[in-house]
């Protein structure tokens, strides 16, 4: 018996930063960075956000800098 057919919606994974041609992620832009921190204040993993590895590295660095400068929280409740 054949397994029930799964409908997997294949979405094209596009890195937001590549699409917008951003080559430097600024830690001062808290509003933009806040898109990549869920409620708890953690850094959103790549597999969910679809950000490419180059930009994810830059992004995590920027988020950490922003946390140090109290632009973003370390832990949010």
């Amino acid at each position: 018996m054949a397994a029930p057919k799964r409908f997997s919606v294949k979405r094209k994974r596009v890195c937001k930063f590549c699409a917008e041609k951003i080559s430097y992620i600024d830690f001062k832009d808290g509003k933009m960075l806040s898109h990549f921190i869920p409620e708890r204040g953690k850094i959103l993993p790549r597999r969910i956000s679809g950000v490419c590895s180059v930009h994810q590295r830059q992004l995590s660095e920027a988020i950490k800098r922003a946390r140090h400068m109290a632009i973003l929280p370390f832990v949010a409740d």
């Binding site: 080559s23 430097y24 001062k28 400068m69 109290a70």
Partner: protein, 136 residues
């Protein structure tokens, strides 16, 4: 010379005049050591994401400067000594800016050399049924 972004948070107990005086003092320190202040960005009083030294808000100031290592060391020493500076961060940005410029140039070159897409491409872009051919 390298380009740095030096950001600091000053205590909210400071008056605007005292803050301006402190910024001016830092500028003289930088210029006294042959550095150059490119931009002074004063965000004003902003609320902090968490409490620092029991303060809930602070004055954010970002200085973009062209300087060398010793100047940064001196600035950071002053930030540590000054009681009203509650947080600071210096980031070297010249290499990142350079890379950013390079990427931009590469993209520009690519988009210049790419030929104008022929009209046939539009059919592929179209999702689902291709547009029906006009009746002859």
């Amino acid at each position: 010379m390298r380009t740095y972004e030096v950001a600091f948070i000053a205590a909210p107990t400071l008056t605007a005049e005292e803050l301006d005086a402190f910024i001016a003092q830092m500028q003289t320190v930088i210029e006294g050591k042959n550095g150059r202040v490119v931009k002074v960005d004063n965000w004003g009083k902003k609320s902090l994401a968490y409490k620092i030294k029991r303060f809930r808000d602070g004055y954010y100031v970002i200085l973009t400067i062209e300087a060398d290592g010793p100047i940064i060391t001196e600035l950071e020493r002053r930030f540590r000594v000054a009681d009203h500076v509650i947080r600071f961060l210096s980031v070297r940005i010249d290499e990142d800016l350079k890379r950013s410029e390079k990427m931009k140039a590469v993209r520009q070159r690519k988009s210049d050399s790419r030929p104008v897409p022929p009209l046939a491409l539009q059919a592929e872009d179209f999702e689902g049924e291709p547009p029906a051919a006009p009746l002859a």
